[in-house]
């Protein structure tokens, strides 16, 4: 490859990672929200409700318009990044760790451990997510932390099921059998041999789950069970904005766009990663 062509190829490769850049931008937005947002996202102005983008009041410009309580949509979208992203990340982590652990143990140890754990998975899968959500909110009170708890509680069986199926297939492989025959203990076999080999599909699930968590939190907000106002995730704003499509389209469109880009970029990245992992085998 000539010297002249190399930088162009590198640029091309860098550009093809645009989902990562996008996600990074959104994360930066979340981290630096208080400094990036021009106005206080919770500051209401009942006289300036539902104003179109570019509206000006009291010397401040509402670049993306104002919402149903006269708050600045731009600032709320910027702060919304914090809520949406942190809820998704934390719930994926929590549910993933628990689910994969349960699935691997069940698939590897078999016997009564498998029975008990997988029936536990069945039990959790049979409880409607809504029921779990409402009960958690009723017992523990509503709020940010409980949304994460609810999401994790309803999603961990998914990881368990996939990890279980993959572990079952993996446990019979010659190299695993060999490792056991040579005296390797369960933790070692699980972590060194099985986990790396089943991580492919699990990673696909996890990145899918990230996007799903963002969407499910939006669904919880739609049902009135999400984060508490005035704190708002993009999903919550989208849910409220649904009622203003014809009259104040900006209330839903900008958070919706942000949410769409967040989920899309996460999904694309996950897809790329699983591609690479598949190639590496």
């Amino acid at each position: 490859m000539s010297v002249a062509a190399a930088p162009r190829v590198r640029l091309g490769a860098a550009l093809s990672w645009w989902p990562a850049w996008l996600l990074g931008l959104l994360v930066v937005c979340a981290v630096f929200a208080p400094w990036l947002a021009p106005l206080d996202p919770d500051r209401q102005n009942l006289l300036a409700r539902l104003k179109a983008p570019g509206f000006e009041a009291r010397g401040a410009v509402y670049w993306l318009g104002s919402d149903e309580l006269g708050r600045d949509v731009l600032s709320r979208v910027i702060h919304g990044a914090r809520v949406s992203i942190s809820v998704a990340v934390l719930s994926v982590l929590l549910s993933g760790v628990v689910g994969v652990a349960v699935g691997m143990l069940a698939g590897y140890l078999r016997g009564w451990v498998e029975t008990v754990l997988m029936r536990l998975v069945d039990i959790f899968l049979s409880i409607p997510a809504i029921l779990l959500a409402i009960i958690t909110v009723a017992v523990l009170g509503p709020g940010f932390v409980n949304v994460i708890l609810v999401l994790a509680l309803t999603r961990w069986p998914r990881y368990a099921r996939v990890a279980y199926g993959q572990t079952l297939a993996m446990a019979d492989r010659p190299f695993v059998r060999l490792s056991r025959a040579m005296g390797a203990g369960t933790p070692r076999v699980l972590f060194q041999h099985i986990l790396p080999n089943i991580s492919g599909p699990l990673l696909v699930v996890a990145t899918l789950e990230f996007g799903l968590m963002v969407l499910f939190e939006a669904g919880l907000s739609f049902l009135g069970l999400g984060v508490q106002p005035p704190m708002a995730s993009w999903g919550a704003m989208l849910s409220v904005g649904r009622n203003y499509i014809a009259t104040a389209w900006w209330i839903a469109t900008f958070p919706g766009l942000a949410l769409f880009l967040l989920v899309l970029s996460a999904n694309l990245i996950g897809d790329r990663m699983s591609d690479k992992i598949g190639k590496g085998r």
């Binding site: 500051r43 009942l46 006289l47 149903e68 106002p229 649904r242 203003y244 014809a246």
Partner: protein, 496 residues
């Protein structure tokens, strides 16, 4: 950029090209009726439907006055005895005549503890109903009960012979009444269809059939109306109604109701155990901005726990002042107490814009209020917790007794014996009891005026506005909304 204006214009043109009007009516409700037996439930969705199948003892006209329906005359034979004269010539949908026995049966059925009606509490001041000669029914109450006529507006007359024969379960599935529409079909979870009663004694309805559908989502109801799939939709708020402006095929209808929106404060806990801080909270709330700026469907700022639609409304009560600077001063003077973290309990059914606006107004003057939104049963359980100290510091409610009488709102919210009330004042108790048991209107009005003044002076509860009800309708539908949110099919018509 208004691409959707173009959309709506297109819709309007398409709709106008359709035939002018159909003989049938489709109504979108928020949920399906839980029961069509008029004595077996208490929810608006059921009421909207069965109120057209059954006649009630008396009813209210569109101005809110009590007028005859099944009872043509009524007079007090004593303090605790009311004699009703029953209308002649009324038949049930199966052809059987409606008699005084049916009326007495209906009353006795609903006050029978064994029957277990949720509405028992509304009618339990009635001890019994007896048939008298000359097609009359005598009602005996436990004590003087001025709200009796208002309560009889809600009592439906059911056919004794049918109910006794088939039992309440079967009657629920195939209700038979004497109203302008008869029951046709109930597709569970989907819709209830009524058919016109051609033999109705009173004003007949204009529609051949009426279908009530359950559509839980407000945005979908609006879409149904705009697409022409529904002719009348309920449960809109002012912002939702704005989506309908600019579309000549549809219109919004509204009227102030007997619902009073108020903010309840827990008087047993800081910060609102302190009267000065309550006053500060009241000064911080801009009722006008909320009623007119935020809501704007006809809501009226209120400074008392009643409204012009209630008996017991006092003209002389001064509106609340709005003075956030003074409020902030008061709060600053009691900064520590005011900074007690307070929970504002609410549920999804309440207008969240109002709750958030209230929270902002209070926090702006120095309080520390955070919203706690849970579902309705959790909210109710917390708001009515037996231990008053457990209750949230603030709650927002929109109260309706469906009786248009101040007794139905002031008594439950203010009397120390009521589980809703956070108030414990002997003077208030005495006034409320006097108003509840005196048959003299002037005595009652005077008592309620004093009650409202006490609440106003001591900031025991903070009423905010009289709520309005909003409907979306086809432009050709003639429908006059009433203060008690009734929907009588035979009072509607198509304009030609």
């Amino acid at each position: 950029m208004r691409p959707l204006t173009g959309l709506l214009t297109g819709v309007a043109l398409a709709v106008l090209a359709l035939p002018a009007f159909a003989r049938d009516l489709t109504i979108d409700l928020t949920g399906e009726p839980s029961s069509l037996d008029p004595h077996m439930q208490w929810n608006p969705d059921s009421y909207y439907v069965y109120r057209n199948i059954f006649d009630n003892v008396v009813t209210r006209d569109n101005d809110g006055e009590i007028v005859p329906q099944i009872a043509t005359e009524w007079e007090y034979a004593g303090d605790t005895e009311l004699v009703l004269t029953i209308r002649e010539g009324v038949t049930f949908h199966d052809g059987t005549p409606l008699t005084a026995e049916d009326v007495a049966f209906s009353v006795n059925r609903i006050i029978d503890p064994e029957f277990g009606s949720p509405q028992l509490g509304q009618f339990n001041q009635i001890e019994m109903a007896e048939v008298m000669d000359g097609n009359k029914v005598k009602l005996t109450t436990k004590g003087p009960y001025p709200a009796l006529m208002a309560q009889l507006v809600k009592l439906s007359v059911v056919p004794q012979h049918i109910v006794e024969e088939i039992g309440k379960d079967a009657f629920n599935l195939a209700p038979v009444g004497s109203g302008p529409y008869s029951f046709d079909e109930w597709n569970r979870g989907v819709s209830v269809t009524l058919a016109k009663n051609d033999g109705y004694w009173g004003q007949e309805g204009p529609f051949d059939t009426a279908t009530f559908r359950a559509v839980p989502d407000a945005a979908t109801r609006i879409a149904d109306l705009q697409a022409g799939a529904a002719d009348l939709v309920v449960g809109l708020d002012s912002d939702g109604a704005m989506q309908l402006t600019g579309n000549p095929a549809v219109k919004t209808l509204s009227t102030p109701t007997e619902r009073v929106a108020f903010m309840g404060m827990n008087l047993d806990k800081p910060p609102f155990s302190d009267p000065e801080l309550r006053r500060a909270a009241s000064l911080a709330i801009d009722s006008v901005a909320i009623a007119e700026g935020l809501l704007g469907a006809g809501e009226v700022p209120m400074a008392q726990l009643s409204s012009p639609a209630h008996f017991g409304y006092a003209e002389g009560i001064a509106p609340y002042d709005y003075d956030p600077e003074q409020a902030a001063e008061i709060v600053a003077g009691k900064a520590e107490l005011a900074a007690t973290p307070a929970t504002f309990a609410t549920a999804p059914v309440f207008d969240q814009r109002v709750v958030q606006a209230l929270q902002q107004m209070l926090n702006d003057v120095g309080f520390d209020i955070s919203i706690s939104m849970t579902d309705m049963p959790t909210y109710l359980a917390a708001a009515r917790a037996p231990d008053r100290a457990e209750r949230p510091e603030l709650n927002f409610g929109r109260w309706s007794c469906a009786c248009q009488d101040a007794d139905g709102i002031a008594y439950p919210l203010l009397h120390s014996g009521s589980s809703w009330s956070r108030v414990n004042r002997a003077d208030l108790d005495a006034l409320l009891e006097e108003a509840r048991t005196s048959l003299d209107e002037n005595v009652r009005l005077a008592a309620y005026e004093k009650v409202h003044q006490i609440v106003r002076d001591d900031y025991l509860v903070r009423p905010i506005y009289q709520a309005a009800v909003l409907y979306g309708a086809r432009a050709e539908l003639e429908f006059e909304p009433t203060a008690n949110e009734s929907m009588f099919l035979n009072r509607m018509s198509w304009s030609e």
